[in-house]
């Protein structure tokens, strides 16, 4: 590239190279100027003969951060490549700003994160897993101790907190549980009816819905609804208390957070879940009846006769037991996630998600275990 020529195509930002001096001149209005074009022109102009970079302003009127960026980058390039630079003809405020941009208050801390070798990584993850398991076991032990204190009348659980938690996960959840269970019963009946119709056995839809809802579906639907509605609220409430230092305040006051926060929620859920499961069973059966009687034109009396014939106390109690277990799981997962929440807003979101996911996973695991046990016991 020849020396002594104007390089830049822009009128407001002109770049000249002459006698080893690269001159950048900003004229009139330099606003919303594309840095990419400047960088391209600037780098194209640079060659080994350039010994000084001179940045000037002529009749500069309006400018914004794009001008400052160009100045900053030009100086940065000069410093990096040991080229002299001169900004003395820039307005004072621009000079001050560029000085400010290069003033380093504190060196950034070196990122010490290094990629661990495979075996180290496995070891590290194993230690983390062991710590998590130990943490969970300690948590369960603390909840059991808290229950023990309640039984021995030494707990500091406030009755009002328990009643508030009970109201939240009981009466206030009735509408959503009823609606969803009705719809699940309805869907179950529809899906069953399509298959049973081929054998002319639509009437057995009543048995299918009754057994399905009472034995497992009612409890699972209530579990999923309550995990999303109440378990996540537990995690969010306790997590927010962590962020607001309320848990620290409890700890320093010597008040057990298990007695004060976990126990009322735990008791509320193990009481309300079986009741909600009963409600779900009934609403599911009504949903099934709606499909059977209204849409499949089955006689109502016949439908309910088959439904009651299929209803057994054994199935009903298995369903209620599922609900009880799910109550334990949801409350433990929700409170655990809340108590182990970080100290910022992000952490509350993360702990809420964790509570729902872990509750659903453990509910499915528990269902599997209960099913196998029932199978073995012939229930």
């Amino acid at each position: 590239m020849s020396d002594d020529m104007k390089i830049s195509k822009s009128d407001n930002v002109q770049i000249f190279a002459k006698n080893g001096v690269l001159q950048v001149v900003f004229c009139a209005d330099v606003e919303n100027t594309s840095y990419d074009i400047f960088e391209k022109d600037f780098l194209n102009t640079l060659n080994d003969n350039i010994k000084t970079i001179k940045i000037e302003a002529k009749n500069l009127k309006n400018w914004d951060s794009s001008l400052l960026l160009m100045v900053f980058k030009a100086i940065e390039y000069a410093k990096k490549n040991n080229i002299k630079y001169d900004i003395s003809s820039l307005p004072d405020n621009l000079q001050n700003l560029s000085d400010l941009a290069f003033a380093v208050d504190r060196k950034p801390t070196k990122n010490t994160k290094t990629r661990l070798p495979f075996l180290d990584n496995v070891g590290f993850k194993t230690i983390l897993l062991c710590r998590t398991i130990s943490g969970v076991l300690t948590y369960i032990r603390n909840v059991l101790s808290s229950l023990g204190r309640l039984i021995s009348l030494k707990s500091v659980m406030r009755k009002v907190d328990f009643l508030a938690a009970l109201e939240e996960c009981g009466p206030k959840a009735i509408a959503i549980v009823a609606l969803i269970s009705f719809l699940v019963g309805l869907i179950l009946a529809f899906v069953g009816a399509v298959q049973l119709q081929t054998f002319g056995a639509q009437i057995y839809v009543a048995s299918l819905v009754t057994i399905g809802m009472c034995r497992i579906m009612g409890a699972i639907m209530v579990g999923i609804i309550i995990a999303g509605r109440t378990g996540s609220a537990y995690a969010a409430t306790i997590g927010t208390m962590q962020v607001n230092e309320e848990l620290d305040a409890l700890q320093t006051m010597g008040i057990s957070k298990f007695d004060f926060l976990v126990l009322p929620r735990f008791l509320a859920l193990i009481i309300s879940m079986p009741i909600l499961t009963m409600l779900a069973d009934i609403m599911g059966m009504i949903g099934g009846a709606f499909v059977g009687v209204v849409l499949l034109n089955l006689p109502a009396q016949e439908y309910w006769k088959f439904a009651f014939n299929a209803f057994t106390l054994k199935n009903f109690l298995v369903g209620i037991f599922h609900g009880f277990c799910f109550g334990i799981i949801i409350s433990l997962c929700g409170c655990y996630s809340g108590l182990n929440c970080g100290r910022n807003a992000d952490s509350v979101g993360i702990s809420t998600t964790k509570s729902v996911v872990s509750a659903i996973v453990w509910m499915i695991v528990a269902t599997g275990i209960i099913t196998v046990i029932c199978q073995e016991l012939g229930i």
Binding site: M241, E245, D248, Q251, T252, M253, G254
Partner: protein, 254 residues
């Protein structure tokens, strides 16, 4: 007559995981002192407070409060000391589901044998002491930030503590509320003889209330100055303390 040591930090090392924030620090807080823990952001002031209040175990060393070794004493003895300590957190840390009176009543219900009626009256009294007379049935969400701090202070005072800890009491307060809180701290100290430990970097508060202090240096991970803040300003032991206490004046000191 020399004052009795209320808090002693002996060879205290504080940190998280492999990282040490402060190493081998020693200091004494005397009875009825208003003791300031100061230093620039990130130097470990709040962590030091967490160690003193038992929220964070020290990596090494020990804290002795009122003659009790808080790392090795029996749990019951430690609990007794904790009952005699009150803490005001930056946010007030009031329980949002409870009214102000219920917040204050909570430690009383836990640790005192007072009847519910007496506890209610005591809660009202504590609120009145911090200028919140009549606010008993308000929830934390219904009052301002400054009032939350006052209510937090009322809760901290519930059990007539021998030691009061304050974490950044002026943070988020307007100058007048901040000044009022400072006055309240002095009033409590003078009226009740309470030992007060304040973590702050608010210069106005430091000079207004502090009669003893330590300056934590994050770079050296140590205490680089100690004494009355006003004396430290007159005779700064090093440039960093001078700059801190003069809001960044660059004049070289001795």
């Amino acid at each position: 007559m020399s004052k009795q040591a209320m808090i002693e930090a002996k060879n205290l090392t504080i940190g998280y995981g492999d990282f040490d924030l402060l190493k081998n620090t020693n200091y004494v807080v005397n009875e009825s002192d208003i003791f300031i823990i100061m230093g620039s952001s990130g130097c470990g002031k709040s962590s030091m407070l967490r160690v003193l209040t038992g929220l964070l175990p020290p990596k090494e060393g020990k804290v002795i409060i009122d003659g009790v070794d808080m790392q090795n004493a029996p749990t019951k003895q430690i609990q007794k000391i904790r009952e005699k300590s009150g803490i005001l957190y930056q946010s007030g840390a009031l329980f949002s589901s409870m009214t102000l009176a219920e917040n204050i009543a909570l430690p009383l219900e836990q640790y005192s044998d007072y009847s519910p009626a007496t506890i209610k009256e005591l809660a009202s009294l504590k609120l009145a002491l911090v200028g919140l007379k009549g606010f008993d049935n308000f929830y934390p969400s219904e009052i301002s930030g400054g009032m939350k701090k006052r209510a937090g202070l009322a809760r901290a005072l519930a059990l007539d503590p021998k030691i009061l800890y304050f974490d950044e009491p002026s943070a988020g307060l307007d100058p007048i509320s901040s000044r009022n809180l400072d006055d309240l701290i002095i009033e409590i100290n003078q009226s009740l003889g309470t030992t007060i430990v304040v973590v702050t970097h608010e210069l106005a508060s430091i000079f207004a209330i502090g009669n003893n202090s330590i300056f934590l240096n994050g770079a050296t991970k140590s205490i680089t100055a100690r004494g009355d803040p006003k004396e430290l300003l007159k005779n700064p032991p090093n440039q960093e303390v001078y700059e801190f206490l003069t809001r960044g004046e660059k004049n070289a000191t001795k």
